[in-house]
């Protein structure tokens, strides 16, 4: 696969770099790193020109979570240069040499931390060595600062001036990392590297792809579970600007020269559908939930002690059922993808979180070798998990192969919202038994999901602190397609668990924060079964949020607490509600996050606040309905998105512990529904068991 190499050579030719280190952005151990004038098995490059300009070719697609900025920050820190000297460029997909080029699971940074530091530190060490050789001193007496090597007798040489000599040195096998107290860039506020493009309206998104000879298309997709019996294209084809109407896989594609003409022509298309089984509606889903709750065929996900016996002996039993609907991801940029399928070469371009699987799947679909498929990455107008599914890329490729033209397939908002790959609908049933002293002795959870896989997270706290536990799941197959949605499963499970624990605390007569801390102390002193979280880190975010939010110390303010561990990060929240004109209003959320080392404070704050707003908006308003396999609503007039006049004040704090960084795109979302619902309960004595609340 030549994509990266060609890109790289084109770009470096323009910049005449004299030093280029090729390395692997993703591999955390034992990967190659070498001076690369003719790059080999690398997916990332760090190059320095004679003037000292530093360029980083980063292979991660940018989706709005800021890794295109955060990753280079790490390299620049260890390289010890001024951030202003660094330019970041997006590399295209190099499938042969890539291990992990995807955006999802908040795993990008966790995966790359060591590697990125090593790349920067290696180059720094080579610059030092080049200077030491020149000055005939030992490397250990030289220092670096802001892209310069400083010698013991006041010598000073820029990285740019040393680059040519440094390129002749071997890449060091061991490097020393900076002490975190010497960090100059990590932990500060670094502005996004694409900010200028964004504020001046540069065409950087998938929807903006334009190629010579390109046509546009929209695709009409069938109701879930239905097959296309026939369609009438004659009237459509007569419409101005329409090039073709073709059908594949139960879909009908309208190809034309402009978006508006296609939208007009589409109104004249009539399709007739059939199906062997009844198409699904809301009542089908409810019946499936009921059946799933009753079945004796649930999959046991975790079992500690003897739940049945313990619950029968409990002094008090608390029981509750929670439920969430299917919801769409609704990124502001609707799905779209470009494909140009020609004999011997396939070009794909667009916003995907997972380019490598796109390449593979398209190669399989078309029956062509993978190395003939190129993927050009664009910026993504949000993803939230939706762009982990490459259905849009496959459709574009298939259509291009049929019409034999380069084509940009555009989804309208209605297509996007009605087109599936939703957050699965799930119903949860919880039971907890408490003894006479108010201690939780038994805990039960069954999750019944529709295309959700395992809808529980069986090792989640408070599991580990309770003697008798039973966690089960039931997965019901549905024709409605599903996929990961920001913080998969936990985006709703987090709410359900945290709302339920609030009820348990109330029944036990305990303060909800103290109850968590007591349970965590139990995990430390006498853990039950497998423990997947660190009790100390958990307790720390809880203590900090209690202090920062002045828990129970604000008269007239109703507070709700929640805490959640997901994607290796810990987030505790306190939400505040005030009743205005008889209506509860969420006025303030305090969040304390432990995601290890904070790389870019600006980006991190943005992620936490964004995830809280996202969690709150979807908990309050989002729901899709189904009737005969068709989704409603399909646009923002009836599917309400949270707006800027509905948001609380948010204070986002981070635990300063210097532990290796972990995920941040997702972890602040799962606790949000819970903290808000618990605060609303404190204000109104009304509990929410279903999302959306309103």
């Amino acid at each position: 696969m030549k994509t990266t190499r060609r890109n790289f050579i084109q770009q470096t030719a323009l910049f005449t770099s004299v030093f280029t280190l090729g390395f692997d952005w993703f591999e955390s151990k034992g990967a190659t790193m070498a001076i690369a004038n003719e790059p080999g098995r690398f997916n990332a490059f760090l190059s320095i020109d004679a003037a000292g300009k530093i360029r980083l070719y980063s292979p991660n697609p940018e989706i709005g979570q800021g890794i295109k900025t955060a990753f280079p920050v790490v390299v620049a820190e260890e390289l010890d240069v001024d951030w202003k000297q660094v330019e970041v460029l997006q590399a295209n997909l190099d499938t042969q040499n890539f291990e992990r080029q995807l955006t999802g699971g908040s795993g990008a940074l966790k995966h790359s931390w060591e590697r990125l530091r090593k790349a920067g530190a290696s180059v720094r060490q080579m610059m030092v060595q080049a200077a030491a050789n020149q000055w005939k001193v030992d490397a250990s007496v030289c220092k670096t600062s802001k892209g310069f090597v400083l010698g013991p007798a006041g010598q000073k040489a820029s990285y740019g001036s040393l680059a040519a000599e440094a390129a002749k040195l071997p890449v060091p096998s061991t490097v020393t990392f900076k002490d975190r107290k010497d960090y100059k860039i990590i932990g500060t506020r670094v502005r996004g590297v694409d900010n200028k493009d964004i504020v001046t309206g540069k065409p950087v998104f998938g929807i903006d792809v334009r190629k010579p000879g390109m046509v546009f298309a929209q695709i009409v997709r069938p109701p879930f579970g239905a097959t296309l019996k026939s369609f009438s294209a004659d009237d459509v084809k007569k419409m101005p600007g329409i090039i073709d109407v073709v059908s594949f896989k139960n879909k009908v594609a309208i190809v034309g020269t402009s978006t508006y003409e296609i939208m007009q022509a589409r109104q004249n298309l009539t399709c007739s559908y059939g199906s062997d089984t009844p198409l699904e509606g809301n009542d089908t889903h409810q019946a499936w939930f009921d059946a799933g709750m009753k079945t004796d065929k649930a999959t046991v996900q975790r079992k500690d002690g003897d739940f049945a016996k313990a619950i029968s002996e409990a002094a008090k039993v608390i029981e509750a059922t929670y439920e969430c609907p299917f919801i769409a991801h609704s990124p502001m940029e609707p799905m779209n993808f470009f494909a140009d399928v020609k004999p011997g070469s396939v070009i794909l371009a667009g916003p995907t979180q997972v380019p490598q699987p796109a390449q593979k799947a398209v190669a399989t679909l078309l029956g062509v070798p993978e190395n003939t498929v190129q993927v050009e990455l664009t910026k993504m107008g949000g993803g939230f998990g939706r762009r982990l599914n490459n259905d849009f890329a496959l459709e574009a490729a298939e259509l291009s192969s049929i019409i034999k033209k380069p084509v940009l397939v555009m989804w309208t908002r209605e297509d996007d919202m009605g087109g599936g790959i939703y957050r699965p609908a799930v119903r949860y049933h919880f039971k907890a038994g408490i003894d006479a002293k108010g201690n939780i002795t038994s805990f039960y959870l069954r999750g019944v999901g529709l295309n959700a896989g395992n809808s529980t997270r069986q090792d989640n706290f408070p599991v580990g602190a309770i003697d008798h536990v039973l966690i089960e799941s039931v997965d019901q197959k549905s024709a409605v397609t599903t996929g990961p949605w920001r913080a998969p499963i936990t985006n709703f499970l987090g709410f359900a668990e945290q709302a339920f624990l609030d009820e348990v605390a109330e029944a036990a007569g305990k303060d909800p924060i103290q109850m968590r801390l007591d349970l965590l102390a139990r995990v430390k002193s006498n853990p039950v079964g497998k423990i997947t979280y660190e009790a100390d880190r958990f307790a720390e975010v809880i203590k900090q949020v209690a202090e920062k939010s002045q828990w129970k110390k604000k008269p007239g303010v109703h507070q709700g607490f929640s805490v959640y561990y997901s994607h290796f990060s810990y987030v505790a929240q306190v939400a505040e509600v005030q009743v205005k004109n008889g209506k509860p209003q969420v006025t303030h959320v305090t969040a304390v996050t432990d995601c290890g080392e904070v790389i870019n404070l600006s980006g991190s704050e943005n992620q936490v606040k964004g995830a809280i707003i996202d969690g709150m908006g979807h908990a309050m308003f989002a729901k899709l309905n189904f009737q005969a396999g068709v989704t409603s609503p399909t646009n923002f007039n009836a599917y309400r998105m949270i707006r800027g006049n509905e948001i609380p004040k948010i204070d986002a704090y981070f635990v300063d512990n210097g532990i290796s960084p972990t995920g941040l795109g997702e972890p602040a979302l799962p606790p949000t529904g819970g903290s808000i619902a618990n605060a609303i309960y404190a204000a109104t004595k009304k509990r929410f068991y279903k999302q959306p609340f309103y």
Binding site: G66, K196, D197, Y260, P331, G383, S602, K609
Partner: protein, 153 residues
């Protein structure tokens, strides 16, 4: 019949269906891709441009209605990115995915043109029509306030 209008200070003549929404005329015919499509039904504000200086949703506005008007898009606000709103957006690092921001910026810049020193509530109300799926609302509001400070009293 061709419709003539001025886009970013340049006279443009569009010989297309006069019902074509301005958004698609800009994107598919005038080659200006900065204005974004979000909903197509005047709900999200991603497509906001100025028509004779007024912030307007271009997705539901047929070009027949904008003949002989002055259109300003994100590309025409200040191509160098020096408009106080653009500078404030960079300074406060507002964007996450960035997709909604052209519409946010055009709305905000129009707001400041009318009311150079809005109150906090006026900013919140003035920006409430634009959806940001990434939830950058706090920084949007802070950036409008910051830009308003940059505008001379």
């Amino acid at each position: 019949m061709a419709i003539t209008l001025t886009i970013n200070r340049k006279k443009v003549s569009l010989d297309i269906d006069s019902n074509t929404p301005l958004l698609w005329a800009l994107r598919d015919h005038a080659g200006l891709l900065g204005t974004k499509f979000g909903c197509g039904i005047a709900q999200c504000g991603a497509c906001t441009v100025w028509v004779n200086g007024e912030a307007t949703r271009s997705c539901v506005l047929p070009i027949s209605a904008v003949a002989n008007t002055q259109i300003t898009t994100i590309e025409g606000l200040d191509p160098a990115g020096k408009h106080p709103i653009q500078e404030a957006w960079d300074e406060l690092d507002v964007a996450q995915c960035g997709y909604c921001q052209a519409g946010q910026i055009m709305t905000a810049a129009a707001l400041l043109k009318k009311n150079p020193h809005p109150s906090k509530q006026e900013i919140v109300d003035g920006m409430a029509g634009n959806i940001c799926r990434c939830g950058t609302y706090h920084r949007i509001q802070e950036a409008v306030a910051l830009a308003s400070k940059k505008v001379k009293k």
